[in-house]
């Protein structure tokens, strides 16, 4: 029977043979599809993990922002002003998480006002003449006499164009305390700088602070690089 009548298998054989490449194609496609799915799923999972890893800080921030107005304010400052204005605790927390970033932009200081001040010091106090002269050949007596001119004139320039006051009003040598959150650019602790503020120590230098600067208005035509003109008596 089997001889007379080709079995179903035999009949199907050519069909199967014709289908074979199709099947293989399908199998290959499904493997590729699986690979592709695994790849994307993997990415998705990784991404999810990355996002989920932030869940604690997100929920912490959310929770604390809801609970603490101070924290909320700090976050607000962070969003509005950028990272550089974060203070104290927040900046320290951030420093742990991210590498420290520069907090300000370095600027070129414009030469003009420096030159104007220098020419004032020269005009009133002969400042450049004094510094540019070789002092080693003169006695202290002679240098001292010239120093009077310089001191007198330069001081007049300071009085007229700047308001200068000490940073700390206490007498030098007295005990002072730097409170938590002191401005390190105005008050510099030296020596045994350890632990947490407040720091207590002795005032070595009172510091100086310019309260006001009143430099002259300069005409646009003036060459400020001329610090003192050459004089020719006719």
């Amino acid at each position: 029977m089997t001889d007379e009548k080709p079995s179903l298998f035999e009949r199907l054989q050519p069909l199967m043979q014709r289908l074979q490449p199709l099947m293989q194609e399908a199998k290959r496609l499904s493997i590729r599809g699986l690979k592709l799915a695994r790849h994307w799923l993997g990415i998705a999972a990784r991404e999810t993990w990355i996002v989920l890893k932030r869940l604690p800080i997100a929920s912490y921030s959310f929770f604390w922002a809801m609970v603490s107005p101070e924290y909320a304010q700090r976050l607000t400052d962070l969003y509005i002003d950028g990272a550089s204005t974060l203070t104290n605790k927040a900046s320290r927390q951030r420093a742990v998480e991210a590498p420290p970033q520069p907090q300000a932009v370095l600027q070129e200081s414009g030469p003009d006002s420096a030159l104007v001040l220098l020419s004032l010091l020269q005009k009133e106090g002969r400042f450049l003449d004094f510094l540019q002269e070789e002092v080693s050949g003169y006695s202290d007596h002679e240098v001292g006499a010239a120093a009077r001119v310089v001191h007198d004139g330069c001081r007049r320039v300071l009085d007229d164009h700047l308001s200068i006051a000490p940073v700390r009003d206490e007498a030098e040598g007295s005990q002072v305390t730097l409170q938590k959150g002191f401005d390190p650019s105005a008050e510099r602790p030296t020596g045994q700088v350890i632990g947490e503020p407040p720091f207590t120590g002795s005032l070595v230098h009172r510091g100086w602070r310019a309260l006001d600067v009143r430099l002259p208005q300069v005409a646009s035509s003036r060459d400020v690089r001329i610090l003192a003109p050459a004089e020719v008596e006719l």
Binding site: V116, S119, K123, R126, D129, F130, Q132, E133, V135, Y138, E142, V143, A145, A146, R148, V149, V150, D152, D160, R214, P216, Q217, V218, A219, S220, S221, R222, D223, E231, E233
Partner: protein, 622 residues
Amino acid sequence: MSAARYAIGIDLGTTHSALSYVEIAKCEGEEVDQRILAIPQLTAAGSVEERPLLPSFIYLPHPDEHTPGDLTLPWGGDPTRVIGEHARRQGVTTPIRLVASAKSWLCHPDVDRKAAILPPEVPSDVQQLSPFEASVLYLSHLREAWNGAHPYDPLDGQDVTVTVPASFDPAARELTAEAAKAVGIDNLVLLEEPQAALYSWVNDSVGRWRHDVKVGDIILVVDVGGGTSDFSLIAVTEQDGALELTRVAVGEHILLGGDNMDLTLAHVVKQKLKKNGVELDRWQLQALTHGCRQAKEALLADAEREAYPIVVPSRGAKLIGGSIRTELTRDEVTETLIEGFFPEVSVDERPAQRARGALTKVGLPFAQDPAVTRHLAAFLGKQAGATEDLEGFVEHAHWASFLHPTAVLFNGGVFNAEVLRDRVLQVLNQWLAAEDAPAARLLEAHDMDLAVARGAAFYSYARNHGGVRIRGGTSHSYYVGIERSMPAIPGMEPELHALCVVPFGLEEGSEPVMPPQEFGLVVGEPVRFRFFGSSVRREDQVGDLLEEWSEDELEELEEIQTSLPADKLKRSEVVPVRLQAAVSEVGTLELTAIPTQGKAVGETSDWKVSFNTRGGSSADAE
């Protein structure tokens, strides 16, 4: 009441000018909020700074001396005239282009005040200015500074007081008023500087002054500024139960001030250096003067110090090698300043007068005697009877040889030194003690450099908004000279009579006065009158004809003149006129010729009689 928002006082000084102001709406009674205007000015080529004082100097730069644009001010400005600090500095090295002490020239009787004569005697390519133009320039600089700071309240809409020395004659006052008008100041009044100083004192006391003085007090104001000394006497009187101040006398114009003192010290030190073989040039002398001023201030302030070092820097770049070191000692200051300018003199001493050489160049009539105390003795001696007519004053003892002040107010930068205040007070009290009079007391003043400007601003405010006012009116009585017609006698000048046209103390804005005498004026020809003033003849009334007077009673001023235009009248017709005098609200004296039958002849109007500010001697020379 005017609609001005600010009341402004301008001190137009010989060496410095300043502007003070008060905002009227913020004032309450005698509590006045005073401010000083920061005046932008060139302090170097191409640099502008604001300073409270504007040095009264004008520099006329050579066209190639500065880069174009380097003399720009915030309001642009005129690059051919530099005003202020930079002008003063430039003048040190180039004096031929510096206009200084223009105010002293403004009351110089021998020059034409509107002719370009400053700086005097310079090469012809320097464009000179007239003293009048200089005043206009200072005022317009102040105007621009004010308008820059207050763009919505320009100066011409504010109440402005400009100060003049008490010793300014009518012509100089009129020139000052004219200068102020020329820069657009319309609501103007003039105020005498010593009065301004007293107003400042009143202002500082915030009403307490009524307890510090009493009726019968005579306040002597001694004002020694940078270039001039000015004295005034102000009596405390009573009107309807309220205290009043009345200015009873002013002194003569004395060109003597703090600058003379610094210069004298510099010459003392210069002579000392010369003995050691060190010669100084003009630049170094200026630096030395500056050093002496500082040394003087230090030595006068600290009685312990015996000497103060002075270093005259070299002009070249070698500062250490080229500087000259010297010092000013206490003995030198005492001898030169205190004994030279404030000597202990007796009250009957008078300033020395040297006869001037006939060939002197025209220059400023500087005081020939440097002793301020001697000038003061002369002033008080001359004014011995100044309070005779005032009510409530003790009859002056007939043997009193001088007027006895009971209080003294000092003003001017010189008196920042306490030693000098004490010295003047001490000398004055010696005079008083010699005549058994009580010692004069000191009225404490503050900020002597700015007091005049502050007092002027206070006055601007007080005169429109109620407040104490110093009464006074004209400080002199004025006369025109009339030649008696008499047969000519060889070698004899025709006899001169003086007709009083303005009585003493004619107040601002009061009814005009007119002597009954008539004059015949020739139409179409300028007519001149000799003009006299007296600071002591208080009792003369309008129309009084003086036939004789003692020499120091009447002082001849510049002549007055008028010209009758020949429009409606025939040329060389003689028109009878009367002279009318009035003191305007501004404070200037106005003389008018009024034709007695004018209205009948035709539409002849009144003619202004003007002061001849063209100078006697130069007019003769033309």
